[in-house]
Subunit: 439 residues, 2 copies
């Protein structure tokens, strides 16, 4: 996760005992090797300010844990014993990301270097199937990716799960997922049981927009401390990074942007209120406005020929071809989007707003009207205006963010990274002893 360069170092309210110091320094050395590329122990010592013996000891531990490796000897013609170069051994540890969407299940595995090992997406109606069957399907997917990662020599450090609803992150429990009709589902605990994950394997659950925000932040805007991610699909979701940290809210309910009343004379929303932003800019609203025939073609259920990605692609195709209805429709969506975005931009003063979901596909046709509307509504004027940009990860942002949370855990505490090595990925049954602690 990016850290803010201009934030003052915080003083920790815990004793700086030797264990904590060593753990922090282990993370520091690993981060140095990761970001600065191949480096000698002397380079690392110089850049971190740590002593040579300390660096040697820490590097030894990182080598033991398989997190770094020694590269070929330097061939630079220098005399004497050549220094060994250290580099991140990204392939030894993997992280799994999963996503429960109302229309599909998605999964990916990445290694510590951020390379994708495997990606899977399958049609699944989580609303119709319900929570139990969905978690079982997710467990099958998990085992598949876990076994593949294990066969390719990586140890799976943990599983991140993106869900479309507010989450109690500490327990991995989904309060409610309105689009799925779920209420109070302990997703982390159930998946751990169903997939037979050992207790040492981290299982983290968070809201899809939060995880997508993390993925966009790390991938495209690592130096930015204040960023908002807004995704348009069946509904509207927002993930907020403020002051260099993901904003969770007091109880996991932050980021609710879709039901700002934007037009008191507007349509009744699915939530029962009137004129919500969602009624103006969600994907169904965009189809109604810009391409009503696609809405008719959608049919019902996830097996309909037009999923959200295909609908977004078709909107883009028509706009690029100059279809007047599509262009004027997207211009109208852009106006409402700019009006809606001006509210959190005035409150939070982000540097960047990233548009995800279908917004990302058609961003070039939304942005002119959206920026015009925002400029008129940002109280502090152009100095407080932010950049608005389409997501690079598109519909894949949430699942990448879910895996990224696990990668981040490993880099934050490399000493924990080989826990679970003994049994992770070696359990063939879908069950384990119950009662294991869920993170």
């Amino acid at each position: 996760m990016p850290t803010s360069a201009d934030k003052p170092a915080t003083v920790q309210a815990t004793p700086m005992d030797q264990v904590a110091v060593r753990r922090a320094n282990l993370a520091l050395v690993l981060a140095e090797v990761r970001t600065a590329g191949p480096a000698s122990r002397a380079d690392v010592a110089r850049r971190t300010g740590l002593t040579r013996p300390t660096v040697s000891s820490l590097v030894g531990e990182l080598l033991d844990r398989g997190l770094v490796r020694e590269a070929d000897l330097r061939q630079d013609g220098s005399v004497g014993r050549p220094a060994r170069r250290l580099e991140l051994d990204g392939r030894t540890v993997a992280a799994l990301g999963l996503e429960i969407n109302s229309r599909y299940l998605a999964a990916c595995s990445v290694d510590l270097a951020g390379r994708t090992i495997q990606e899977r997406r399958l049609v699944h109606d989580a609303t119709e199937e319900g929570a139990d069957a969905t978690v079982r399907a997710l467990a099958v997917l998990t085992r598949e990716l876990l076994d593949h990662a294990t066969r390719s020599g990586a140890r799976v450090a943990g599983v991140g799960i993106a869900v479309p609803g507010p989450v109690a992150v500490a327990t991995g429990r989904v309060y409610a997922a309105p689009n799925l009709g779920w209420k109070d589902v302990p997703v982390a605990e159930r998946l751990r049981e169903a997939a037979g994950l050992p207790g040492e394997t981290s299982v983290v659950v968070d809201n899809e927009a939060n995880l997508a925000a993390l993925a966009e932040w790390e991938t495209a805007h690592p130096g930015v401390t204040d960023l908002m991610y807004v995704t348009g699909e069946a509904g509207l979701g927002a993930g907020i990074v403020a002051g260099g940290q993901l904003l969770q809210g007091a109880s996991g309910f932050s980021g609710e942007l879709g039901h700002i009343q934007i037009d008191p004379d507007g349509d009744v929303c699915a939530c029962g209120r009137t004129g919500c932003l969602e009624t103006k800019v969600s994907l169904p609203a965009a189809l109604r406005t810009a391409a009503p025939d696609l809405l008719l073609a959608e049919g019902s259920g996830p097996r309909a020929p037009w999923g959200p990605q295909e609908q977004a692609a078709e909107l883009l195709r028509r706009a690029a071809a100059g279809d007047p209805r599509t262009l004027s429709g997207l211009d109208e969506i852009g106006r409402w989007l700019g009006t809606g975005l001006s509210v959190p931009v005035n409150l939070l003063n982000p540097r960047v707003v990233v548009l995800g979901g279908y917004f990302a596909a058609v961003a070039p046709y939304l942005l002119p009207a959206a920026m015009r509307e925002m400029r008129a509504r940002i109280v502090a004027g152009d100095e407080a205006l932010c950049r608005v940009t389409g997501s690079l990860l598109g519909f894949g942002a949430a699942v990448r963010g879910a895996a990224g949370v696990i990668v981040k855990e490993v880099f934050a505490d490399p000493g924990r990274a080989d826990s679970g090595r003994a049994d992770s990925g070696r359990t063939d049954s879908g069950r384990t002893d119950s009662g294991r602690t869920v993170r």
Copy 2:
């Protein structure tokens, strides 16, 4: 400043060298003495997990710096040499808080234990006087409080300044204060020069609502990680604490809540837009709605008999006496306030919303309607609903928060606390060498 008990410790991206470790431990020991009350060195060692020799050395430094003192020997009848008890020596260091308001200048000095040393408030029209004369008047006030604190034996560690507008906190420069008609004023630098503050004395400038939020957080809600402070005066201001830190935004413009469009058919706002929340719930709007005769009695300029505090007190008096116009007017204000607050509450999911300014005085008459309206508009339902409560500090919150920032600096880095001891408070002229670095 409160820290979150349930937040994971962050790993610092700096080497944990001995200097940093000692600084962190010095802060830790001082915090322990401060919060746990009188304690022996052995108590401190046990509670912090630090070794006895380390604690003794750190306590020695804190004694040298005059931040702690040894209390009377214990009289508990135990045999052997009695342990000396350590306690915070709050009286040795003072912090100044200043506030530039459109109708007054305020100042206070507090000691490290949070006790008020002095409070001053004087009528001043910063709009009419302009930035230069206002900073000069503020400098006179600063010298007065500084000299008083010095005479009473305290060293002034720094000066915090609250201003009604967005601030570049790193440089102490006010971008713009619309109510004052100020633009781009380097307040920290100018006050340092005009008051002859030595370079080592911290000068911190921030938005009044941000500083008031900090004061309310520390005073009344120290365990809460997500809090919003909303103040109603001539305009509307908000300060946001999210994830255990004050939210500044990318460039100091966060907290703009007053110009959410809440009624597209409403009045034209001073900002030129239509139906802003401010047009519904500011103090002038409340007077128009609930007590129009007070608006007439207000006259113009700060020397009018009815300042904002007197107007708020009169609103409260009438409501308490059961005046029907006042009651129905405040009920209407409450409805608009609840509608407006539901937007940031949906976005940020705070645990508590604190109402400041005139809202605090009449909170009991605003809250029933406000809570009804919020309950109807919080998307995640009652689980995401927050507590809304009147400020305890009222119009004095900003100036307390400004002093509190300086106190916090001392506790965060006690080793820095005697810088400036040599000359702070001993300069009699109002000028120093120019070009001193402004924090």
